[in-house]
Each structure stands twice: as structure tokens, then as C-alpha cells.
């Protein structure tokens, strides 16, 4: 019997963002693997084994799920947001690449989800309405120098920038340095959006400018969107402004 591994995206916190395909993948699984708080968002089903693990243990978690699937089980590896965006799908692929040959014969499916930048963008309007990039600010897995070069290249080329993993207890200075780099390249009034825990009860979304952007506004649950020179605000009486990046660019300004 051939095993099956689904790498499943939960989307951000709101259960109304969980797709029917993801729900079905959970319902069909014999076993679920995932970061504890993500697993807690999946309803319990009788006869289904659950293996919670710590946040930073992506490789070990993926390997454990693959070992289990290789025994012929139907296993779901639970991922936050979309599994393909700074989440579990790449971790699972890396384990398959270096693991036993038998893992390459498994039936592997990735079930997409709403990734954080789409949810944050939706909350404020359409800041990702033109060309954009998504970048993880974590220098655990890549050199800091490379991150700075990518921020600079993206800003200079006129991409809106979605920043994942902006800060953590162990990485406390990088976000300030990133804003510093961006301030050298983008105007002071460039819109910046901090979207924290979007879709959860403790959601907090703040719209500010690059000049005023305070790294202390962010924590591990925050996704930041930094606009391009085209990104603008639409003031609204009694409502927070809309933030959007027009689809059209009249001339080359970068």
C-alpha cells in the first residue's frame, strides 16, 4: 500500500479562510503533524492521531510525517497560511530530496491556502495591486547581506514588498536595519502596513509611513507591506484609509 502525504495550508487565523479542499484533506487523514497552535485549529476526529511539535522544528516534523506516510498511512502535514510560502512545502521537499528512495514513491499533494500577505492586503484595500515581491527577513537560513541586497533591488525596481518573519526574540535588530535600507531608497511618505494576527481575535492592522514605521509595532505574528513610489492612500470620512497600488504606471520612474 502506497502512503500519502498532504501538505495542507490553514490560511491565516479565520476559519472562514480554510478551503473545502483543506478541510477534506484533514477529514481523510489518519494522522496529523503540525506546530501545536496550528494543529489546535483543526477539529478533532475519532481515530485520528495528532502529533504536535514546536515552531522551529520544520525539518524534523516533515521527516516524521514522511516516515509515517511511508508506512502506508494517509498523513496531513499542517501548515499556516499557504504551505508554499515560507512554510512547510519546501521543508517537506527538502526532506524528500535527502531522505530514503522510498519517499520518492509516495503520493505527495500540496493543498494551497490564503497566505498572510493576501489577508493583510485585503484588510486595507489593494497594496499588492501592482508588481510585488515576498521576502522573509529571517537570517536564520540566509545571509543578512543577501536580504539587504534583495530589499534594495526590489525597492529600486518599484516592487511593493511583503515582509514575512520580520522579527523574533532572537532577531531583534534586523527590521530596523531593513527600514533604514528602504528609507535610503523610497520616499518618507511611502505607505507601510503592519498586519498582526489577521483573522484572529487579537488582529491588529496599522497603516503608517516609511518615515514613521516603528519596528516595535511588529512581532512574530506580523506581516508587513511596504509600498512602492506608486502606492497611495484614499482618505475616507469616519473610516480608515484605503491603501492601494494602481495597476497602471504611466512612465518609468524607477
Amino acid at each position: 500500500m502506497s502512503g500519502h502525504l498532504s501538505v495542507v495550508g490553514l490560511g491565516p487565523g479565520d476559519a472562514r479562510w480554510l478551503t473545502p479542499e483543506a478541510d477534506q484533506a484533514f477529514a481523510q487523514a489518519h494522522a496529523l503533524y503540525g506546530y501545536g497552535p496550528y494543529l489546535d485549529r483543526v477539529p478533532s476526529r475519532p481515530g485520528q492521531a495528532r502529533y504536535p511539535s514546536e515552531n522551529r522544528e520544520e525539518a524534523a516534523r516533515a521527516a516524521a510525517a514522511l516516515r509515517h506516510a511511508a508506512q502506508g498511512a494517509r498523513v496531513a502535514l499542517v501548515s499556516g497560511g499557504d504551505p508554499g510560502v515560507f512554510a512547510m512545502a519546501a521543508a517537506a521537499c527538502a526532506e524528500i530530496e535527502k531522505g530514503p528512495e522510498a519517499w520518492r514513491t509516495l503520493d505527495v499533494a500540496v493543498v494551497p491556502g490564503i497566505t498572510a500577505m493576501l489577508a493583510v492586503s485585503a484588510r486595507v484595500g489593494a497594496p499588492l495591486g501592482h508588481d510585488f515581491c515576498a521576502l522573509s527577513l529571517s537570517d536564520n537560513l540566509k545571509p543578512w547581506d543577501l536580504i539587504l541586497r534583495r530589499l534594495a533591488a526590489a525597492a529600486d525596481a518599484g516592487f511593493v514588498i511583503a515582509i514575512y518573519n520580520p522579527i523574533s526574540r532572537a532577531r531583534d535588530w534586523q527590521l530596523a536595519a531593513a527600514f533604514e535600507e528602504l528609507r535610503r531608497r523610497l520616499g518618507a511618505s511611502t505607505p507601510v502596513v503592519f498586519g498582526r494576527a489577521v483573522g484572529r481575535a487579537d488582529e491588529k492592522v496599522a497603516i503608517t509611513t516609511l518615515a514613521a514605521a516603528d519596528p516595535n509595532t511588529a512581532d512574530m505574528a506580523t506581516l508587513i507591506i511596504v509600498g512602492s513610489s506608486e502606492t497611495r492612500l484614499i482618505a475616507r470620512p469616519g473610516r480608515s484609509p484605503l491603501v492601494y497600488t494602481p495597476r497602471a504606471v504611466e512612465s518609468v520612474r524607477v
Copy 2:
């Protein structure tokens, strides 16, 4: 009575990718506006008015939906994929910006969806597993020179590139020129994924290399992912390879 406009993402073709929040927004709407084939994917409900329009009429469609909402109705503006990614949310914001002051008092909500690059990525593994950008190849709304400069900047900085709107009847040479530009900057064996109509009955996904990438493989329903120097394939016996970009980069290679 204050009107309400929801800009709602359908996700790609598969109904199992439609979120419960989107489904609810459709159920609550008095009127639906959208590109005909997208509207056709929303179940009919008694008493609900439907206003289909042509593909290229985004601005007029958004304005019509806003006018209707301003009369006090609950209106859903139907978008493919995610409304915030090269879709209807930015078009709606642009109309609000230039429209009558009353439109700024409307209750406006964006309902996120699975955007095409996430669905294509899920089909092949995790090509977007590291830093990436999303770029529309359409030069209807921006100069071609700017598109080329962005492709070059993204490739040089090591971003994986998701290309939206790669080709159309009126834009028949741009994709070949884009591949040409990328071949000057990325290795011949760089993985390229063509994902056509993902989630629909006529879905077709092809994995190739930058050297072999044929623009004629693409049509208007295609999303293309061009890897970085880190993107690689995992061969699997009797299955198509997995395509993935590792989360870790050991050293600065760009």
C-alpha cells in the same frame, strides 16, 4: 442606508478552493458584478441580480458596482483568484479615488482568495519556497521597458519570478522577449513551470527549463513560474518531478 461593496476572490477554477467567507459574501449579495465566466462559477440565488461584463472592462465594471452599492445595496464584485493580485481590488480602489465623494462612505470589504501562483506552486511542489516576486507581463498598463528592468532586477537578486498575464492575442511577442532577457541572467537549466487553467477540467501543468521554455506553451489562462539559481527538481520514479526552492541559501551567489 449605507451601501456595501465586497470585492470577492473566487480562487482558481476548482470550487474546492472557494473559501467559506467568499461563499457567504455571494450568498448575502443583492447583486453580483463580474467577468461572465467568473460569474458563471457562482451559484444562482433567487432575487439576486447578475451583471456580467467583458474581460477587459475592469474600470467600468468596478464603477457600475460602486454606483449600485451607493444606492444602498449589498453588491459583490467577483474577481478571479485573489482580488488583490492583478485583479479587481485595485480597479475598485482606483474608481473610488476618482469617483464621487459618496463612494468613500461605502462599506468596502475585500475577500481574499487563492491566487494562481499558489495553486500552480502547489501542483509541482514548492517553487515559491524562498523569496519570490509576482509580475504582470502586460504592457497595456505600464511601459515594456519597465517590465524588462523588473525581470532583470528580480533575476539578478535571486527572486523566483511568478509571471501573470504572460500572453494574449494582442500581446504575442512579449513572453519570448522576457525569456530572452532571463536567459541572459539565469542558467539554461533553471526550472520553469507553465500552469494552465489550474483547478479546471482542462488543467495542464508542464515543467521545463529556461533553455527549452516555449512561449507557445502559454495562453491567457497560464501562470508561469521561473526559478532562481537555487530552484531544483527532485526526480521520482513513475511520477512527475517535484520542483522546489530550498528555504536555506548557504552563501551569497547573486
